[in-house]
């Protein structure tokens, strides 16, 4: 006992005299490091492939920073407006300055709540024809200091020293021009070519001269044009017409030099006198917005910041969500009903037949999607093979069944395309169920039907679960096939996501819909976990 105590007080030493603890820690650390090194590549892969895109999706779906960069002063003053009547001169002045002046890029606190509307710098005018230096320094004194310029200077001279083929050099220089602009503005697609040129003529230490400021002014001016283009697109989501309002009045406002701005703006375009456009601004006031999510379910903020329905003729998303859900559900159930017996056959037939059947099941995977869709069209359209056969069998010619370019067509074709996704997991589970269970059940007194229901089917549940989830998830995101074969009923939520990604460029709304889809799938997953248990799912 005493000896035991003694050893536990004395630190244990290893053979070479280092304390055991230290050496254990060291060896653990080494193996930890090795483990981390092993895990790192797949981890990075995972982050790159899933975490980042999903993070990006979620940020995009609430992101309204761009418009806040465009209208900092307006949004700072919007809170004081009573929202009942057309705003007064001060708000008109704010939006006029936001739309036309470059001061917002120069003033330090130029974003969201940090904006100080009383800062006199907002109202300082930079002469359009120059000289620029003095006015710009008055707005933002730190630009007088050479240090402020150093960061973009570095970019410019590094790119100018780039080596490689002529093409690579050109590419580097182009990138540098983009990069300089992205430092000065919230845009990644503006080119600061003038600054690039002038910075390369500068030595990096002497006090910034008029040439630098002129380049800064001109590059900012052209970037501002693009920012305006983008924000007008954004504003148009809230109220159709904003886009042309900004564009048209923008040209005319260039000529306005002094207050009162309210009059001048309404004269430039009478829509500035429409309170609806001002109400629309309220919805964009925060750099983070839930507006896209509301939009995705046919709702919006009204002028009192209450959630209201969209006007009736624009209510489409809820209907599309339901339709998408319904289509996916029917397709899933249909696939299940068809796949189950096929999978059973596959699992129980002798090898030479089941191989053949397996080839038939997999055949669709080897055929181009379009070919299959066209084949279905030929089969199912009103003048198609199926209807022709029916007419031959006595169906009156005028009662040909509409099976294509409608809901039925969507369902039939989607089921056919997704069937293998249901068959394979169910088959792979069935394959592992030895026939002895059915025999045992019958031996214990259960007639074959009961044995199937109580013994066989419950054991195939993991496969059913996997198949159902797989098919449902794939179906819910489908859009090209339904569009081709579904006619007007073929428009699903996926089409709208694609539309907003590619055509309307409303990525925020697309991201919001994507996030809702993702959330829906996760909820589904969760329900599945509650009912069946996720560890009870077998994909093969």
């Amino acid at each position: 006992m005493a000896a035991n105590n003694a050893t536990s007080v004395e630190p244990l030493l290893t053979a070479d005299g280092t304390p055991l603890k230290t050496s254990l820690q060291r060896s653990l650390r080494r193996s930890k490091l090795r483990a981390t090194a092993l895990v790192l590549p797949p981890l990075l892969f995972l982050i790159g492939l899933f975490v980042l895109p999903i993070g990006n999706l979620l940020t995009r779906s609430t992101d309204d920073t761009l418009i806040n960069h465009q209208l900092p002063l307006t949004f700072a003053m919007l809170g004081q407006w009573d929202r009942q009547e057309l705003p007064d001169e001060s708000l008109f002045e704010a939006i006029f300055l936001d739309l036309t002046s470059l001061n917002k890029y120069l003033i330090k606190d130029n974003f969201a709540t940090a904006v100080d509307p009383d800062d006199p710098a907002w109202k300082i005018q930079i002469p359009k024809k120059g000289p620029y230096r003095d006015a710009m320094i008055e707005i933002a004194p730190h630009w007088k200091d050479a240090k402020t310029w150093l960061l973009i200077y570095e970019i410019a001279i590094t790119a100018a020293e780039a080596t490689g083929t002529e093409r690579e050099i050109k590419h580097q220089q182009k990138r540098a021009q983009f990069k300089i602009c992205s430092m000065l503005t919230p845009l990644t697609n503006a080119t600061c070519s003038k600054l690039y040129k002038v910075l390369n003529e500068w030595d990096g230490v002497s006090e910034p001269d008029e040439a630098l400021f002129e380049a800064l002014y001109k590059d900012l001016a052209s970037a501002n044009k693009y920012l305006l283009g983008k924000s007008s697109t954004r504003m148009n989501y809230e109220k159709p017409g904003f886009k042309s309002l900004i564009k048209k009045s923008g040209r005319k406002l260039k000529k306005v030099n002094e207050p009162p701005y309210k009059e001048a703006m309404i004269k430039a375009d009478k829509r500035w006198g429409d309170i609806g456009f001002w109400h629309a601004l309220l919805a964009m006031q925060k750099p983070q917005t839930s507006g896209y999510y509301l939009n995705a379910v046919d709702r919006k903020w009204d002028e009192n910041r209450e959630v209201v329905m969209q006007p009736e003729e624009r209510q489409v998303y809820v209907m599309l969500w339901w339709r998408t859900f319904l289509v996916s559900l029917i397709v899933t159930v249909g696939c299940l009903l068809l796949a189950y017996p096929v999978a059973h056959l596959l699992a129980t037939l002798p090898l030479k037949y089941s191989n053949l059947l397996m080839i038939c099941v997999l055949m669709p995977f080897w055929t181009s999607l379009l070919v299959r869709i066209v084949a279905w069209m030929i089969m199912l359209q009103q003048e198609g093979v199926v209807n022709d056969t029916l007419v031959m069998l006595g169906l009156p010619d005028e009662h040909r069944l509409p099976m294509m370019y409608n809901f039925t067509g969507t369902i039939i074709v989607m089921i056919q395309i997704l069937l293998p996704f249901m068959i394979l997991p169910i088959y792979s589970v069935m394959k592992t169920i030895p026939p002895s269970y059915m025999k045992a059940a019958q031996n214990l007194g259960a007639p074959p039907s009961l044995a199937f229901l109580r013994v066989y089917m419950p054991q195939t549940l993991p496969g059913i679960g996997a198949g159902v989830i797989l098919v449902f998830i794939v179906a819910i995101g489908y859009y090209i096939t339904p569009e081709l074969v579904g006619g007007k009923d073929g428009r699903l939520i996926g089409n709208m996501v694609a539309y907003h990604m590619q055509k309307s460029l409303n990525w925020g709304l697309a991201a919001a819909m994507g996030s809702i889809l993702l959330a829906g799938i996760l909820i589904l997953y969760w329900i599945y976990d509650k009912i069946v248990g996720i560890d009870n799912m077998k994909l093969g």
Partner: protein
Amino acid sequence: MSTEDTFVRFKEVQKSYDGETLVVKNLNLDIERGEFVTMLGPSGSGKTTCLMMLAGFEPATHGEIYLGDRPINAVPPHKRGIGMVFQNYALFPHMTVNENLAFPLEVRKLSKSEIATRTKRALDMVQLGAFGDRRPAQLSGGQQQRVAVARALVFDPDLVLMDEPLGALDKQLREQMQYEIKHIHESLGVTVVYVTHDQSEALTMSNRIAVFDDGVIQQLAPPSDLYERPENAFVAQFIGENNRLMGSVEAIDGKECQVKIDNGEVIRALKVNVDGVGQRATLSLRPERVEVNPEPGKFPNVFDAKVEELIYLGDHIRTRASVCGHDDFIVKIPNASHHASLNEGDTVKFGWSMEDCRALDVSGIH
């Protein structure tokens, strides 16, 4: 065998899966009520097939199977009321032990309370009373096996079939389970048809053993008879260890015959399965029936033997020697205190009696 007590009867049963080869050839087998009959035989000899025909999962190609007095060829499996323990137990993995046991009772529409009491009784019988709520996957192999037995018995069948139920267990557990099954059989008085290819298992458990080979019952007899008095070379070879000497019959004298084996020596043996002089024969001799350096005149058969190898096995010493031109002649020498020890390379005399040396056919030997 009195037909009155016959409970299961195979009558001229044949079975072919492919229409070309017979897996079971003309099987005739009567099993009495309460009997424990084991089907023993090498892999592929048709044991499972017979069991499956009995349980109703495979139709007999020809012949009739009777249960009691009733021909059951046309009765579907779930109406035969036969309990069965499958080779891999076939416990339903998605049900608990209790649910597994309740299953045959539920399909028979017994009342809830009845089901509960019967389930409990069956579990207690196999000493698993505390495991009712576990899933099969949470049980050890031996426990699963006991649940399978309990499930096969819980609905009080008159006949229970067991297809190599202990195949997956280690030796110790297997022996313990053999004992338990035997015990249950005796206490319940149910008829058991048991399949195994482990001969010691067959010997310890059965009332009678049917030795199968190639779709034919080679011998049907109680264990001791099988061992002591194999009726053909296959059974002799298959059951227990056995020295084989090949030769041809020289003379027959009542129940005794003289066989000249291939190196010229003549051995006197019991005539069992040979018919005429000049016929080829296999002599079968159990290793423990050979005596080393016997008193002169005690045995009619005494031959020189050269000790080739000694293997110490605790209770006995297994000795390999060259005798009559065979260098794989095995003798078991009990490790008794008075026994003289041999050394490799010694030349000694081996002797055995005429009755212990059985003259059998050669056909059953593969």
